[in-house]
Amino acid sequence: MTLAGWQLALAELVGGQDPGDVPLTRAERCWLSEVSGTPGFEVTAQVRGWWRRYRVASCAPLTLEVLGPARDDVLDGYLAAFPEPTSFYVREAVRFLGYATATGSGEHLASVSGFESAMLQAAQGQRLAEPLVAFRSPPQEVLAALIAGAGTPVPHPSRRWWLLVSPDLPQLCREVSLG
């Protein structure tokens, strides 16, 4: 057998992708076809999915709270849109947060996902291209409500509150006023 081809085909299959034109022998194709219908294959693929969901859930709890009942659909959509995983928690979560902002809905979604994304990156010592995060209600009230699982404040129609996020700040962020 050709180890490289077998590995590529198996990795693609476990990730839900068609191994397509990977050069394989007839016996290898037969094994892959048989194994992909087994409970053991299903569990292997599920473990892969659990890890991806865990990485997102552990790094982006507030955004998932904002998404509310839609969280599972958004997460499923993300996993389908970005089938290639990463082993790195923050990389997976930041990618999810971008997807959630673009496709999800909910009051304060952009603010909270932007805040979580910025904080995750700052905690790793990364400089942010956009260090300011805008909120449409006092940030502490929004975040405290999400942590408590309570209703978030009604967004102000015009006023904005700003959080500056930076790896140089003692708590990584602080409120700032602009202009």
Binding site: M1, T2, L3, A4, W6, Q7, L8, L10, A11, E12, V14, G15, E28, W31, E34, V35, T38, P39, G40, F41, E42, V43, T44, Q46, V47, R48, W51, R52, Y54, S58, E84, P85, T86, S87, F88, V90, R91, A123, Q124, G125, Q126
Partner: protein
């Protein structure tokens, strides 16, 4: 005494490491957990990749890795003065087209900072390569087929790691859920492990819970399997517990060590002459399920067994 480097040689790398005793996993986001069990352990095992973030690589294919300063500083602080071993996750030593060089770059840096007693890797593959050179991350460690081709892929890499770090290197037997893995005629998982340890200058990190999972899930006898292994090559043992999902016992590191694994450990302890450490393994995601009380209880039990069979006050 068995040399870990075939052909003997007087190199210190070839000698089995000095026994350490009982170990625990370092949990990067929960450094206080490690601190709170230091009275029960003789060494702490670190996965340097868990202290890293993903970065663009400046050279070569694949994803680069860089230490997160806060995580590295916390680890160095907690581990100061504590014997350390290294257990890698990201090397993908069994990938036919080549291992993950980015992990070795990180390991180079870590071993410059921390004098590890040995290092180890999971026996399997995580990465594969498409025809256009792009890397596919399987997202979950996958097993190797039980073939000579796989042995010939891994063995020279183990030798290269011994040369590179001048440290004992161990390979860990994996859990797998896929049935009927391809195998050379007459070979099974145990033949494969024996052939690999025979061909490679490395020791065996025998994960008794992984082997127990495979015995349960694939229907073989754990103790009969153990008896077929070259026990003089076992340098470290991992213990863990896990849950059942869809009829499969999972290597989820989410619970107490089950009775058959304790039985296997008691059988093994007097028979593995080069065993240098036994570690109760917990993963960060599962720590809330395990809890500190269970962690301390399992470490205490390992310690009692270690002292009974390997010496020291009970």
């Amino acid at each position: 005494m068995t040399q870990l480097v075939p052909g003997g040689g007087a190199s210190a790398v070839g000698a089995p490491p000095r026994p350490l005793g009982v170990g625990c996993s370092y949990l990067p986001s929960l450094p206080a957990v490690t601190t709170s069990v230091l009275d029960l352990v003789d060494f702490v095992e670190v996965s340097p990749d868990l202290l890293c973030r993903e970065v663009e690589r400046t050279a070569g294919p694949g994803v680069g890795m860089a230490f997160v300063p806060r995580l590295l500083d916390d680890a160095l602080s907690v581990l100061d003065g504590v014997p350390v071993t290294v257990h890698g996750l990201e090397l993908s030593i069994g990938t036919a087209t080549g291992w993950n060089e980015a992990y070795l770059e990180v390991l180079d840096q870590f071993l410059d900072l921390v004098p590890a007693r040995w290092h180890s890797e999971h026996l399997g593959f995580l990465l594969a390569q498409r025809a256009d050179g792009r890397t596919v991350n399987a997202g979950v460690p996958l097993p190797l087929p039980f073939t000579r081709e796989a042995v010939e892929c891994v063995a020279p890499r183990a030798a290269a790691l011994v040369d590179r770090y001048r440290l004992p290197f161990l390979l860990e037997n994996a859990t797998y859920y896929l049935p009927g893995l391809p195998a050379d005629p007459g070979w099974d998982e145990l033949d494969f492990l024996c052939a690999l340890t025979d061909a490679a200058p490395c020791g065996l990190l025998l994960d008794l819970f992984n082997l127990h999972c495979n015995a349960v899930n694939h229907g073989f006898d754990l103790m009969a399997a153990l008896a077929r292994l070259p026990l003089d090559r076992v340098v470290e043992v991992h213990l863990a517990g896990g849950g059942v999902e869809q009829g499969f016992l999972l290597d989820s590191h989410s619970g107490s060590v089950p009775p058959p694994v304790w039985t296997a450990l008691e059988w093994l302890l007097p028979l593995a002459p080069n065993l240098a450490g036994v570690l109760y393994e917990v993963q960060e995601p599962a720590f809330p399920l395990v809890g500190l009380e269970t962690l301390r209880g399992e470490l205490d039990r390992v310690g009692q067994l270690w002292r009974r069979f390997r010496g020291g006050p009970e």
